[in-house]
């Protein structure tokens, strides 16, 4: 190794360059992906789980209330 410092300096430029290029492309792809997904699958995880569960809950709540009322009425 004649000139290790010059050599390692080149590695540094190459290494940091590739690391940043990699992450920068990744960031761009991820931002684009987020837009695409928001466009074609809008709020998908929310609707089925959130919507369905609240609907189910309302029905359940109604059933439970009815049952309690019924029970109370029988008790009287």
């Amino acid at each position: 190794m004649e000139n290790m410092v010059a050599e390692s300096f080149k590695y540094m430029v190459l290494g940091m360059g590739i690391v940043f290029t990699f992450l920068y492309i990744m960031v761009i792809v991820l931002q684009y992906q987020a837009k695409l997904i928001a466009k074609y699958f809008p709020e998908e995880p929310d609707q089925p789980s959130g919507g369905a569960s609240t609907g189910l809950d309302k029905k359940k709540v109604a059933a439970v209330i009815a049952a309690i009322q019924h029970h109370k009425n029988i008790g009287k």
């Binding site: 290790m4 390692s8 690391v19 997904i37």
Partner: protein, 446 residues
């Protein structure tokens, strides 16, 4: 109390042995007229007590620790100097006890320091030769460390444990994970300069690269690179990498505070958006795809990592992802720790290079932290959304310790300012960044 009992027993033994021989010597003249057979029997008898005891003593650890021999070889067939046979081993056993203390009393990375420490303890036992090809530790080392297998399995488990949500919510912060990799490459230049211009160190470029990867603060990556580029330095590099990861809460805060003003530390970041499930599912494929296109050399590490993450996010193989996160990573941690510990044998660890590695590793770590913080400051200047510069420090991998430290330092300046999730973004991208940096180093030296 126990000591005195043992000492007493030893004394008794010694006296008994002495008396037995003395009485036989005294009895010998009266047996002059006895048959030849009888004398022979007496000789055999004589040997069985005194000589046997003596030859047994020569196989004890006490003898091996106190009387160095010429021509003692270690597992790899290299001769071990007399210092490394005696004081060296004792010092190393002391060091392993220190590792136990740090792990148990101080809670520093106990999952790794305990197996590594115990491996080191076993590796320094004289005569047992556990680090040899047929020794317990040697078998483990050859099975998974010499061929870089265990670090990849660990990486798989880490992938299965990592949640990329915070990074996906604010992808720009991923760049901070890149800036922190300057710790690796900056130290590479520094180590090369010190080796070339000063008589302090004498590392080759490969050695420098393997040492500076400690700055990535990523244990498995450090082991992976060290085995590839500088297997002789593996023990010191692994111990340095894991010790500094454990010391994140000690090393990082002073650097973070020195480089930021109080106002900057008090910056409150916007709450993160909700991340779609599909984004998380595609992320490992995107990362792997990029590394296939740009840097196939890094795909062993990134491939294992993304496989683990994909199994987790796919949501249909919970059994597999659960095994990777728990059972598998635990088994591999045990084996990896013991295997790395085998490199703590005195003749490998107590050499001049180790001190250089410990110092350069610390520098790499500090430089990485500083680079992350400075980059975050820069981004804060040019970004529309406020960015607290502290989160840059989490760009060194060390998941999730570095992010927790950021959170703590942030809370000190402004109670209630929770930076944990914002710091997790650079933190997990730091894992990708250091894997990419590792891939670059491998591609350079291949």
């Amino acid at each position: 109390m126990k000591k005195s009992i043992i000492a007493g027993l030893l004394l008794f033994f010694a006296l008994f042995a002495g008396q037995a021989t003395a009485s036989e010597h005294a009895a010998a003249p009266s047996h002059v007229s006895a048959t030849a057979q009888h004398t022979e029997e007496a000789e055999v008898h004589d040997k069985s007590i005194w000589e046997l005891l003596k030859s047994f003593y020569k196989t004890t650890g006490i003898y091996a620790f106190t009387t160095p021999q010429d021509g003692v070889v270690n597992g790899e067939g290299e001769e071990v100097s007399s210092f490394h046979q005696t004081w060296g081993r004792i010092i190393m056993i002391g060091i392993t006890l220190l590792l136990f203390y740090l792990a148990i009393a101080k809670g520093f990375e106990p999952l790794l320091l305990i197996p590594i420490g115990f491996g080191g303890l076993l590796a320094n036992i004289p005569m047992a030769n556990m680090t040899g090809d047929h020794g317990f530790l040697g078998v483990i080392y050859n099975a998974g460390i010499a061929n870089e297998f265990f670090p990849l399995l660990i990486f798989m488990g880490v992938g299965a444990m990592t949640d990329f949500g915070p990074m996906l919510a604010n992808p720009k912060t991923a760049l901070l994970g890149g800036a922190a990799q300057f710790g690796i490459f900056g130290t590479l230049v520094g180590a090369a300069a010190l080796s070339q211009f000063t008589p302090l160190f004498d590392f080759s470029l490969q050695d420098c690269a393997a040492i500076s990867i400690i700055g990535g603060a990523d244990g498995p990556t450090s082991i992976f690179i060290a085995t590839k580029l500088a297997p002789d330095l593996l023990g010191a590099i692994a111990v340095a990498a894991y010790s500094y990861m454990a010391l994140v809460p000690v090393i990082q805060p002073p650097i973070m505070k020195a480089l930021t003003s109080k106002e900057e530390r008090m910056i409150v970041m916007k709450q993160q958006r909700k991340v779609h499930k599909l984004e998380k599912l595609f992320l490992p494929l995107i990362v792997l795809g990029l590394s296939i296109l740009l840097l196939p050399e890094s795909t062993p590490l990134i491939g294992a990592f993304t496989f683990g993450n994909f199994a987790k996010e796919s949501g249909v193989v919970d059994r597999l992802s659960d095994t990777m996160q728990n059972a598998l990573i635990n088994i591999v941690t045990i084996l990896l720790g013991l295997g790395v510990g085998s490199k703590l044998a005195a003749e490998k660890f107590l050499v001049g290079d180790t001190l250089g590695i410990l110092i350069l590793g610390l520098v790499a770590f500090a430089v990485g932290t500083a680079a992350g913080v400075l980059m975050a400051k820069l981004m804060n200047k040019f970004s529309d959304e406020p960015i607290n510069p502290l989160i840059g420090a989490a760009g060194v991998s060390a998941v999730p310790m570095a992010a927790r430290v950021v959170n703590k330092v942030g809370m000190e300046s402004k109670p209630g300012n929770i930076l944990l999730m914002h710091a997790m973004g650079p933190n997990v991208s730091g894992v990708i960044g250091s894997a990419v940096a590792a891939g670059v180093l491998i591609s350079i030296f291949n």
